[in-house]
Structure formats: C-alpha cells, structure tokens
Amino acid sequence: MRYCETGPVHLDFHRTLNATIGYLRTQYGYDFLDSVFRRMAHDVYRILHEALQRGDPEELIHHWTYFLDREGGGYELQREEKIIRLTVHRRPAIAYLQSRGLGVDPAFCRQTVVVNNALAEGTPFEIITEVLGEGRCIQTLRRRS
C-alpha cells in the first residue's frame, strides 16, 4: 500500500477537516470544494486510481478497510460476483466529532462521494456512495456494464 501509516492515530485531524470543509463550502462553494477532493483522488491517491484503471479494485478495498480498522470503524465487506459492497455502520470521523460535541458540516460526507467518483473516472468501475446519515454509508464498487 502506498501510504501505509502505522503508530498512533490522531483523530483530532477530523476536527480540522470538518472545519476546512465548512470554510471552503461557505467561502468558495461546492465546485471549489469538489475540485480539492478531486485533486486528492487523482494526485495523492494516484496509485489507487491507476490500479482501478488497470481493472484492479483490491488496492482500494485494502485502503478502505485498513484505515477504517486503524480508526476503529464498524463495517461489513461483501463480495459478490461483480460487486464489492462496503457497508459502514460507524464512521470514526463522525463518531469523534459527535463525541466532542461538534456539529458535523453538511458537506462532510461529500469527501467520500466525490473522492470515490473521481477515483472511478476513466476506469472500468463505478462507485456508488449512499450516505445514510449518522456516520453510516454504503459504498458499492462494480464493473460498468
């Protein structure tokens, strides 16, 4: 894995992430916010994007589960013939913000939606992200028909 962090987890970064999303949304709008998420997907996560372009979803699946495990997330991973579905029951970032009594920005989960969409661009896959609220979502990766 390209960025395989180990050691202590600093969940307080989610507080700054939440504030940053709120700041960019209110000062610059959704298009600008999304452009930053897309830079993240295409430049920082270039290895994940390239793996999907090659038809390999495993780098992304490992990325999802590795970092959810590191942060103590609750999830299920289901594999079917042409579909891989990640059902997140407890997203640690949301749980952390709520534990600190902080309001979750309305665009907070947009990071997941836009990064997933951008990762899937130009690849044989699509990633459908259903945000269910309260730190829950379903991310479905499947080959385009």
Binding site: P8, D12, V36, M40, D43, V44, L68, A93, Q111, V115
Partner: protein, 158 residues
C-alpha cells in the same frame, strides 16, 4: 473517505488550491484555522503558561508520531523537532508539496499565542527537510532576541 492519517496530504492540496487563487486566500484560511485553535487552546495556555504548552506538545509529540525533544525552562518552552511527521508525509506524497506548507503551523500558533499573551518564534530551518525549532517565551524581548539568530523564521502574515 479521507482518513485522519491522510489529513495533512489533504491540507497540502487545500493550500495549493487556495494559493492558485492568490496568496491572500491561503493566508485567510490560516487565519480561520487560527480562530478555531484559539477557541481550543488559548485559555489553557493563558492560564497554564509555558508548562501548559509543554504538556500540550508532549501529547502531540506522542500522538502525531513526531521525533524531537521538548525543553521547559524558566524563560521558554522549546520543541526541537528532528522529524516533523506532517512535512514528512507531505514530502512522501505522489502530489507536489505546497512551498508554504511549513507556515501553516505558525499560522495557527501565532493567533493562539497572541490570545494567550505568549510569544512564539518558529525557525523552520528548511522548507524541504522535516525539522524545525519552536520556542515560546513569556517575555517578547527574549523572543525577538532568539528570532534574530533563527535561520528561517516563519512569518505567515508578514
């Protein structure tokens, strides 16, 4: 999903995107983060002084995986960072680093220290190597004196 482990690489992308709009946009963002951190830390530092700074950065050193040494004297608190995990991650990155990356640190700390009645000097030493020295003083004249000897003092709002 952007995990907390990857936040600083996201941060770096935000810096570059704002810098492309004009440096004043990047500086405005740092000011906003400064306000956020003032709410979080200023009262603690104002009441606890240099020992409270030492206590805070002791936790950061452990939790963020920094390598370095903390020193607390009667005159100052010093954090001599031999490996900054934040810049190290930004350099270990398939995306390019923002040339002003190190200044974000002083960007929020300056606001907190001003609100706490303390005076900080950050010598980033190099913008391409992950080490720096931070000192916090109670006495502004001692801070000014220390800054005169700094190799690359950070002044994000200059």
């Amino acid at each position: 999903m952007i995990p907390s482990d990857h936040f600083v690489r996201f941060y770096n992308e935000v810096f570059k995107a704002l810098e492309e709009l004009g440096h004043e946009h990047l500086v405005a963002y740092w000011r906003e983060l400064g306000k956020l951190q003032v709410q979080e830390l200023a009262a603690r530092f104002r009441e606890g002084g240099l020992p409270a700074c030492h206590e805070y950065w002791q936790r950061i050193l452990e939790e963020e995986g920094c390598e370095g040494r903390l020193t607390l004297t009667d005159e100052y608190f010093e954090f001599r960072m031999t490996r900054c995990p934040s810049l190290a991650k930004v350099l270990d990155n398939d995306a390019a680093p923002c040339r002003w990356y190190c200044d974000h640190c002083m960007g929020w700390c300056e606001a907190v220290m001003q609100a706490a009645g303390l005076h900080m000097v950050l010598d980033v030493e190099s913008r391409t190597e992950p080490h720096c020295v931070m000192r916090v003083y109670r006495d502004p004249t001692l801070a000014e004196e220390y800054e005169r000897a700094a190799r690359l003092p950070s002044h994000p709002y200059a």
